[in-house]
Amino acid sequence: MKEGLNLLPSVAKFQAAKIKLKKRVNFVMVIFLVFWVLLAVIIFGWLGLNSYLLKQAETKNAKSLSNYKSLVTNVVLSKKNKYQAKLVGQVLKERFEYGSLIKKITDFFPENVTLENFEIKTKKQFILDGVLTDGKDMNDVEDKVRDINLGLYSDFSSANITSIEIGNRGWSFEMEVNLI
């Protein structure tokens, strides 16, 4: 055979080739079956492992939930606080503080000026009436208006005197001031 010489009759040769082929087919089939079984084992094993892990995770979750439920009062209170703080914070942020503005204006004028009427038109504008006993003090008021318009005061953007009157009580003026 090694020399490539085969003296078997052709039928016997055919039978030998068939047997060889059958053996090869069987070998391939065994490998295929092993692969199949292995594949099935791996898939079912992996599924089993995952199902086990799922059960474990569910148990842990149930335990955590039970702990969480025991703290439900704090949960509700914390959530409520957060919600209310958000609402209150939002409206308070928009609140215009009149107290600080009035203080600024009171401090702005010298002592010889008496503020009589005070009206806040908008959050950015207010009108005030002042009274002076001495007409010379009107110069101070005019100087203040000039300084505001020159931008020397950080809180005020512009100002103008809308009227000046001289009456029984002395000098009175009306002034319009705009905030920055």
Partner: protein, 250 residues
Amino acid sequence: MKESFFKLPDKIFGLEKSVLIIFLFPFGLLIIFLISLKFVLIPKVDEIGTVKQKINTITTNTDKINEQVRYLSSVDSEELQKNAEYLDNAVLRNKQSYLLVGIVRQVANKFDYQVKSFSLTPGEVKTEDTEATSLKDMKKLPVNLTLYGPKEKNLDLISALEKTLPILFIDKYDVTTAGDYSELNLVVYSYYIGDETNIDTNDITLSDLILSSDELALVEKISNFTKIEENTDMGTSEFQQYQRENPFSL
């Protein structure tokens, strides 16, 4: 006749019948494998995917819950309660504007001011405030007041009103001075948060529970405000019927 019907020729498509028979079993096996792949193995692989996804969801959820449990266990319940009280006091507890008059009156009395008149229908509150309050759960309750008192305490009164719980908002400010006395015309409003506010405890994250630094600063700020009790007696007093004789009856 039957035998000849099932009897195959010795050669099929030029191949020996006995050779073809060798491949018959592997072919059948292959078909069975393909069927099992389609109807058993692939569905099981999909099931593994689903189970893994479930595990991930549950694990994430558990971590989230554990995180919250850790925070909630560490938080001081008393402080939580105190914060809740401040925040509750920051808004009106009753949806009645006239209660505001009582609150302002209590503050005004401290500075020798008196409520000269008030109106519960002050007209429209300035639009810029309304726009800022797009929070549908909050209801704005305004009142128009005229206060009368010493001129020098005017600023103190306004500052005190701005540091009062429930938080008061001044919408209009007009002062007229005559001698040592001032007349203040104010539109004051406050907010009422409805009880119907739903707090869903199911889908909560840790950030829904922890107050941010700004919110903590807010609580700190309002904790310095003066709490004024809402006097609800005005609206809830019982009706009393007095028996009087008709002086015109004969």
